[in-house]
């Protein structure tokens, strides 16, 4: 599903600071991979490269059969819209839309009619435990609830890949545990591939495979489940 080959990226200078080089990674369809690393190690950059939001200095990124480096900005945008879902550390739920409309946003952007999308939104909201909060505004929700909305939004259009960047970074440990469990369950239930960037071993524990990001690439890590 995801194939990264000989990937290199540096923070632009001066002087440029290499993040990683010669990075290779293959993620199978339906697999969940967690990337562990210290702050500044390049985890988010790696996710951005997979999302087509950033371009590598060297190497190639193939996601769901598409070589992202040859696509222009519009094509990469369409690619993200159709095949990717995102979960952010700071939730990034639009404050002016009610919960259901926030979840339905990817469907609307993909031109799915409201009538067809409503059932999927309701199903996702039920799945994340917010079936009764569809009409609530984001300001009325707690941090954990906002992240559930984000997870529902990430999956509503049945993307091939969901990218989650520190999804528990703004949550207390108990809520964090429930959120990552929910993320795993919903991804697995829909057969979606997941890449999770985190510095939390607890969060990484839900993944099928855990890797550590270092300047010379990714290496397997052992985590306690």
């Amino acid at each position: 599903m995801i194939r990264l080959s000989g990937l290199a990226r540096a923070f632009p200078g001066p002087p440029p600071r290499p993040l990683f080089s010669g990075l290779d990674l293959s993620v199978a369809p339906g697999e969940i991979v967690a990337i562990l690393g210290e702050s500044g190690s390049g985890k988010s950059t790696l996710l951005n490269l997979i999302a087509g939001l950033d371009r590598p200095d060297a190497g190639s990124v193939v996601v769901d059969g598409a070589e992202l480096s040859v696509l222009d900005d519009d094509a990469r945008t369409r690619f993200r819209r159709e095949r990717l879902g995102f979960v952010f550390q700071a939730f990034h739920v639009l404050p002016y839309l009610p919960v259901a409309r926030n979840v339905a946003l990817p469907l609307a952007l993909n031109g799915v009619p409201d009538a067809a999308g409503d059932a999927r939104v309701a199903s996702l909201l039920d799945a994340v435990g917010l079936g009764d909060r569809a009409a609530s505004m984001p300001r009325e929700l707690s941090g954990g609830e906002l992240q559930r909305v984000a997870i529902a939004r990430a999956l509503v259009h049945a993307p091939a890949v969901v990218l989650a960047d520190e999804p528990t970074g703004n949550l207390d440990p108990r809520t964090a545990a429930s959120i990552v469990a929910l993320l795993r369950d919903t991804l697995k239930a829909r057969g979606a591939t997941g890449v999770l960037a985190t510095h939390s071993h607890a969060a990484a524990a839900i993944a099928d495979r855990v890797l550590v990001l270092a300047p010379d690439g990714l290496s397997p890590a052992a985590v306690h489940r």
């Binding site: 950033d54 900005d73 952010f88 700071a90 002016y96 609307a108 952007l109 300001r139």
Partner: protein
């Protein structure tokens, strides 16, 4: 200074830095408002000062001036005054506007008795080679400005019109006169003889015996004067001129203040959006112990600082602008009150201080509501994301806005104060403020009724606006005010122009018009001239008009009497009457039709009677109707020419209206007239030409108004643009998320453009409605009370549609540009910023 104070100031400085562009725009808007107001005030003050100084010079040491109608009064009055015990010296004067062949503007000629003028008005004595020249009937002494204007020097000849003939004088020398005043002085007897004023005087300058009471002398003189002749102190003439022009000047001042008000709204939106942006920072400061009052003080201080810098820039720019205005539009800014005057600009520290204070107050006023709101906000709530809209919670209650609108309705119809439509202006201000206070609520109501669009982009735009109408509409305040002003002025000017056009059609029914001169002109048509004109080949019918200027009541501006060949039976069809006309009395009763200005000033209504001074006697006239007169602001009365000639013995005329015989050509009749009277002696014009000139004068008068209007709209538009930019930048993270979710840059741009378009359409709709309401006040209250002109309300639909389309397009383009800036950055970085 405490550490918390230092931190607070550092945060505020940071905010100024972050909002540099918007702060600069708000400062510029205040500068424009202050500059315009100060410039207009300076030009007006300079014009009045010049006029007053001119009057003072010409009045010399006179304590009193006896003044009569434009065609003069019996010189026997002079003998009575000169013999009064309290009068030390009296100088008789004949004053005329000498018509100069080939020139449109007349030369003011003053005839004095040199032996007497020396004791009262020495400035009116010419300086030439020989003192005896002052007594020679063929000599004229010209002021330096007149010499330059006419291109003459001592020894040259000056030919002026007398009736339809010419009278020639030799330039004997110069005359002390204020800069810019075009004036000539001749011997009084020569003036009387040359200009058909034998036995008549225009005024008498009087010096009172030292120690005598001027008031007592004035009362004694007044008691001995015939009807239509008044006695006043010299300064009162200048005061009267100032009063006559006051309504026009106040109107311009108010327009300039509207520009300042728009600037104040720009400060409001800048500060309100800045407070929204800094809400978390300020909450942090409050949490760290900064008192509410200090926070409010800092934010008010920001506003005041914008005002102070703006005011300083405005005063410097205003002075420069005043210089330009004076050279382009003249001393009266195009209105024609002080034609020919060329005053020097004078700097008034008091006026500068007043405008500086106004600028600072306007900016601090604009910052007041956001400052209070920021100080009152709960730090805990403010630190939470998504609380921004609560900043505008204070605007949620409809009560203050509705109270303003109700108050506006309650006071709008109150009578003028000192001739000024004070309550009309106040009602407009209240309507503006009331509507702006209700703007978020109105916007919410309009947005709720917008049908749900199909496109996702448009849906997002609408949802964003519906969820946060406060933030969107706060940026609209300035543009709503500016659009309302522009629309109301456009409607008022269109109403006025169309009413003027209809009025001209009604007043100019003949095929050709002939003019020899105005009320105090040296050009006139003698009875034999009139007979010649009436029997010219090609002329089927001729009507004549005698124009007089009289003082109807002491201290009041002069009233114009138009003695017309009007048929009292068909007058209602010929005159542009307003309201009901009274049945025209039959028999010998004298009849008059009064203008609206006269009716307003003296309370004359159809069926009542008025007194007019005719040939030194007060004559009673029955008022048969009130007519609309756009030509004379201080009042005019139409009387039958036959009755006037019978009462006064004056059979001269100033104007003629000619109806051509079938088949006769206007061109050939013009040529015949030219041959009969000589080139340039009379002015002949077709109704179309008079109409074109009148409308050109109208347009010139409103040129300054258009400029002020355009400035206010530009300020509003710039404000809107700046607000869009600030709002777009504040939402960069949102755009970043949307880009993550698959929205293209183009779609984000389209969303913001749609938001800009919707917000602008709301602003435009409110501005149009408010402008329409204000125009009704302008037409029926402000104009009526300021100038006594009624007019029919007309809506220039095409002009308003063009203005709306242009504003909508500009606002949308502005929003698009803001979107481009906001989405130009990295979507990844945008979502990394604190949410």
């Amino acid at each position: 200074m405490s550490a918390s104070g230092d931190v607070a100031r550092a945060v505020m400085r940071g905010a100024f830095g972050a909002n540099r562009g918007r702060t600069a725009l708000a400062t510029l808007a205040i500068a424009l408002g202050v500059g315009l107001g100060y410039a207009i005030q300076t030009v007006n003050r300079s014009a009045i000062a010049e006029f007053t100084s001119g009057m003072a010079t010409l009045s010399g040491s006179a304590d009193l001036v006896v003044r009569g109608p434009a065609d003069g009064f019996d010189e026997a009055v002079y003998a009575r005054i000169a013999l009064d015990a309290s009068v030390a010296a009296a100088s008789p004067v004949v004053e005329v506007d000498a018509r100069l062949p080939g020139r449109d503007e007349a030369l003011r000629l003053v005839g004095v008795d040199a032996l007497r003028a020396g004791a009262v008005t020495p400035a009116l004595l010419g300086r030439g080679d020989s003192a005896l020249d002052l007594l020679r009937p063929d000599r004229v002494f010209l002021s330096p400005a007149a010499l330059v204007w006419l291109g003459l020097a001592a020894g040259d000849e000056l030919a002026v019109q007398a009736g339809t003939s010419l009278a020639t004088f030799m330039v004997g020398g110069t005359l002390e006169a204020p800069v810019g005043l075009r004036l000539g002085v001749v011997d009084i007897a020569a003036a009387q003889e040359a200009f058909g004023r034998l036995g008549r005087l225009s005024r008498i300058d009087v010096r009172i015996t030292p120690g005598a009471s001027v008031d007592a002398a004035r009362a004694a003189i007044a008691g001995a004067l015939p009807a239509g002749v008044t006695v006043e102190r010299p300064g009162e003439t200048a005061d009267m001129a100032a009063r006559m022009t006051r309504a026009y000047r106040v109107n311009l001042d108010v327009l300039a203040l509207v520009a300042l008000f728009t600037g104040s709204l720009l400060v409001f939106s800048t500060q309100a959006l800045s407070v929204v942006r800094r809400r978390a920072q300020m909450a942090l400061l409050r949490t760290l112990g900064l008192p509410r009052r200090r926070l409010a003080g800092l934010l008010l201080g920001e506003g005041a600082l914008i005002g102070a810098v703006g005011a300083a820039l405005g005063l410097v720019g205003g002075h420069a602008l005043a210089t330009v205005l004076l050279s382009v539009f003249g001393a009266d800014l195009g209105a024609g009150f002080f034609r020919g005057a060329a005053p020097a600009l004078d700097f008034s520290p008091a006026s500068a201080l007043v405008f500086a204070a106004l600028g600072i107050a306007a900016a601090a006023g604009g910052a007041w509501l956001p400052a209070i709101e920021a100080a009152r906000a709960s730090p805990a709530a403010a630190l939470k994301a998504g609380d921004d809209e609560s900043v505008f919670g204070r605007l949620a209650s409809p009560r203050p806005g509705l109270s303003c609108l109700v108050a506006a309705l309650a006071i709008v119809a109150l009578p003028p104060v000192g001739g000024l439509p004070v309550f009309g202006y106040a009602a407009i201000a209240l309507m503006l403020i009331g509507t702006l206070l209700l703007l978020p609520r109105i916007a919410r109501a309009i947005l709720a009724r917008v049908p749900q669009p199909r496109s996702t982009v448009a849906v997002l735009a609408l949802d964003s606006l519906r969820a946060a109408p406060g933030q969107a509409t706060v940026s609209l305040a300035a543009i709503v005010a500016a659009v309302a002003l522009a629309v109301s002025m456009a409607i008022m000017v269109a109403s006025f122009r169309e009413s003027l056009s209809s009025w001209l059609d009604r007043m100019l029914p003949a095929d050709l018009y002939l003019r020899s001169g105005g009320a105090s002109s040296t050009g006139w048509l003698a009875p034999e001239d009139q007979r010649a004109i009436a029997t010219l080949p090609g002329v089927r019918r001729a009507e004549f008009l005698r124009v007089l200027r009289v003082t109807a009541s002491e201290g009041d501006p002069p009233v114009v009497i138009l003695a017309r060949d009007v048929d009292r039976a068909s007058a209602a069809d010929r005159l542009p009457l307003v309201g009901d006309a009274a049945p025209v009395p039959v028999g010998d009763a004298e009849v008059a039709w009064v203008s609206e200005a006269y009716a307003d000033r003296y309370g004359a209504t159809p069926g009542t009677s008025i007194e007019l001074p005719i040939a030194g006697r007060a004559v009673t006239f029955a008022v048969a109707g009130v007519w609309r007169d756009y030509a004379r602001q201080s009042g005019a009365v139409i009387v039958e020419r036959g009755a006037y000639a019978r009462l006064s013995g004056d059979e001269r005329a100033n104007d003629a209206a000619l109806w051509l015989a079938p088949g006769a050509s206007a061109g050939s009749v013009r040529e015949t007239i030219e041959r009969r009277f000589g080139p340039g002696r009379v002015t002949v014009a077709s109704p179309g030409e008079i109409r074109a000139v009148s409308l050109a004068v109208f347009d010139r008068t409103f040129a300054v108004t258009y400029v002020l209007e355009a400035v206010a709209v530009a300020i509003g538009l710039v404000g809107l643009s700046a607000s869009f930019g600030a709002l777009a930048l504040a939402r960069r993270r949102e755009f970043g998320v949307l880009r993550h979710l698959g929205m293209t840059r183009r779609q984000v741009g389209a969303m913001l453009a749609a938001e800009g378009g919707i917000v602008s359409a709301v602003g435009l709709a409110v501005g149009l409605a408010l402008g329409g309401a204000i125009s009704v006040i302008l037409v029926h209250v402000v104009n009526r009370q300021s100038f006594h002109w009624s007019m029919d309300l007309r809506f220039p639909v095409a002009q308003l549609a063009a203005l709306s389309a242009a504003l909508l397009a500009l606002a949308t383009v502005t929003a698009l540009a803001s979107a481009r800036r906001a989405t130009a950055g990295d979507a990844v970085l945008a979502v990394k910023e604190d949410w």
